[in-house]
Symmetry: C2
Subunit: 507 residues, 2 copies
Amino acid sequence: MSMHNTQNRNLLTLRHLGIDTYQQHVVFIRSDSAVCRSLGFAAQSRVEVRLRDRVLNATVNMVRSDLIGAGEVSLSESAWRHLGAQAGDQVELTIAAPVQSFSHLRSKVYGQRLDSPALLEIVTDIAAGRYSDLHLSAFVTACAGDRLDLAETVALTKAMIDVGQRLRWSVPQIMDKHCVGGLPGNRTTPIVVAIVAAHGLVIPKTSSRAITSPAGTADTMEMLAPVTLDSASMRRVVDQEGGCVVWGATAGLSPADDVLVRVERPLELDSEGQLIASVLSKKAAAGATHVVIDIPVGPTAKLRSAAAAESLRHRLEEVGRTVGLEVRAVISDGTQPVGRGIGPALEAWDVLSVLRGEAGAPADLRQRSLALAGLILELAQSVPRGLGVQQAEVLLESGQAWRKFQAICAAQGGMREPPRARYTHPITASRAGRVVRIDNRRLARAAKLAGAPQASAAGIEYLAPLGILVEAGQPLFILHAEAPGVLAYALDYINSQPDILTFEPQS
Amino acid sequence: MSMHNTQNRNLLTLRHLGIDTYQQHVVFIRSDSAVCRSLGFAAQSRVEVRLRDRVLNATVNMVRSDLIGAGEVSLSESAWRHLGAQAGDQVELTIAAPVQSFSHLRSKVYGQRLDSPALLEIVTDIAAGRYSDLHLSAFVTACAGDRLDLAETVALTKAMIDVGQRLRWSVPQIMDKHCVGGLPGNRTTPIVVAIVAAHGLVIPKTSSRAITSPAGTADTMEMLAPVTLDSASMRRVVDQEGGCVVWGATAGLSPADDVLVRVERPLELDSEGQLIASVLSKKAAAGATHVVIDIPVGPTAKLRSAAAAESLRHRLEEVGRTVGLEVRAVISDGTQPVGRGIGPALEAWDVLSVLRGEAGAPADLRQRSLALAGLILELAQSVPRGLGVQQAEVLLESGQAWRKFQAICAAQGGMREPPRARYTHPITASRAGRVVRIDNRRLARAAKLAGAPQASAAGIEYLAPLGILVEAGQPLFILHAEAPGVLAYALDYINSQPDILTFEPQS
């Protein structure tokens, strides 16, 4: 149809404005431009933006001023990067095609089950950036809690694997580990990877950034070495050292997960099905064959009851089997933070002290790392059953794990020292007593209010483990912040929350 | 605490950029500015913006260029208007307080019931603009379908009434009407208001703009007279003429509803509970005492089954009683469009032809208007039972209703003529046959793709009612558009949807 050609000639010149909308693609167009009039764009319209061979969907922000010219257009920073744009490039704008998978999304919102083709359509559209933030939020909400059943969880996991790259390795056994989170400071991964790789197994670890926590493993590892490696660089590191700890998003593995995580973070919603699909799709896409998963349980951890943890453990192993992964999930103590640091840099310091075998290294972090590493050695059948922890301890104490870790950091682009915060403030006990309960969630919230994980040196240095007897005036934890405003803000929060720690008076 | 004062001195100078983000409040700040560093803002942070006595929450977009200076800040157009800002004003930025009602929102997402205090907190925060688009979407999704029970629906309705203004009138009986929608073109309201006001009853009608349809009553009425009246102007019109048809949002009635509608529109989600709360909160806030509600039922109307319509009818009357409204809901035929026009201006032309008693006026629109007006007269007990329609007909045929309508338009700011579209394109029958089914949803979608309601002259002129016998080549409907691009786009859609109309071949 000849009229259609008018759509193909909507070329506009790119102008750089430098507006960062945090990964939501936005296009800025003059409201009085010919392209707006001819295509009927309005604020919040979804449009397709094409530059050479790259294309994305974006939300329209109308410019009602001379900020840009009538023949010009601008893009948010994420869209600019995604298209590989240069100022002066000509981009083509058309009305975005209706997103067919929205009808599946609506079905799910109304309580209907989704089958594999429907979930694949949704995940494909999400990975391609066709969902606006509103629609992403609706999908996350519709799947929250226990609203995905086993079949849906399997289908979502497979779909998330299928729409991204999948790494292939030349050895038959590829080890991996994961922690379900919710426990501040529990940063075993860099230590476990160092031990397992030092043993000679292959463990190409892709980690995520924080979703609702004060630090993700990728955030912490980034304090010690670069983590934004493409898949070729990651492969080089693993070929050379047998292990790595990189940020998964840059490797193109399960790209839909990265989009969803961005929306889940501010919503602070959990979903068993999405959790399983997120974890296992990343593992399968990274080429893992054997996966150990740590599930901490405690009244203020992500998993609050042994029954819920048991259900998750069972479902992780079941979905794992269906998608071809040997999964061993273990339930661990989740009643208090692990190590002393909470926040990217503070946790990195803990990791260093364990690997270096320092006298003051946190014993709990060391023990948990050895337990997980030992289990991986056993799951790989590379040590006799029951001897995994012992072998892990040998590798750690001999310095082999520390040397391996330094080699991995060097291969990832160079080891570096974590930053220290400019502002600190101790929180002291107002009276003597024994610490009998710790609210991990409020502790994590305080660390986040202090700036973690965006402010990498920010967070909490935790000093009062369960059972310890404290004197009045003794420091319980120390707030770290990079700016006085957020430090004050975190202090306000802590002062308004007397129950972050519970004391039992001593007679 | 002395550190706190640093937060209070984050004054920045307002610069106008003119970026329209469609009512989502956005603040643009330099990423390298002192305020970002001292408060730890990041892209997508929520901040509180204060200008003199006005305050709002906004989402941060970081500016990574010299678009604005380090001591400057800009606001999206909606935030600019909301604060009554002028370029050069000094605004104060602080970290937005944590939104306490998010915990209630999460409870609802996880399937728990919400009580009255929880819903009041949520609605208060929504009306105050404290919810980001992500959180609004999560709330709409969590309440979608039938996920609000009777008690929650009553509580939501009361909360939505309570957080806005409530109009009080000097007469004891205030009439109102509403249509549950889903039926293209069914624009009875302006006609009903004219008849009821001509009879001497008081009917201060506040209407909404389109949510998922090609036109809302406010969109259509705006083609004939101004509809954005404040509550003082609305009161003056009603005092003078006994009736009005204005856009509800500007009167400050149920402001949370206006926020929710903005998110519901792109999501295209329905919710029985939110529908009832939306309708009845607007009515109660407008001071109505007696409300007639039209519920069209048909396979492609909003209500698809008699049972669902009956359930909604029952619940509307029940919730109405609880919040002090005498509600009469009637179920009507929803199998095909009413009148000929679909789209703001096209529907306005239909309204005019019925009120003027033109020979070619759509008989179905006239009859439905008389039925609803008659019911209102009876509900007010101002005519004997069974004689309502007859009295309504007298008022219409005598020209009293038309004179009343002209007077109302004049009082609202002056009557005007609806626009005509610059581009039209007839859709013709490819073969002869009898029209036996009409897909209202796809017809409405085609009208929207042609530009309605944003492009006010756009839409569909519908010519082939159910049962009509058409010849091959006979026009079935005519697309109207204001731009060739959207016309082509709507045509593409129509060509891809052969089942918009179903024909039975005639032997």
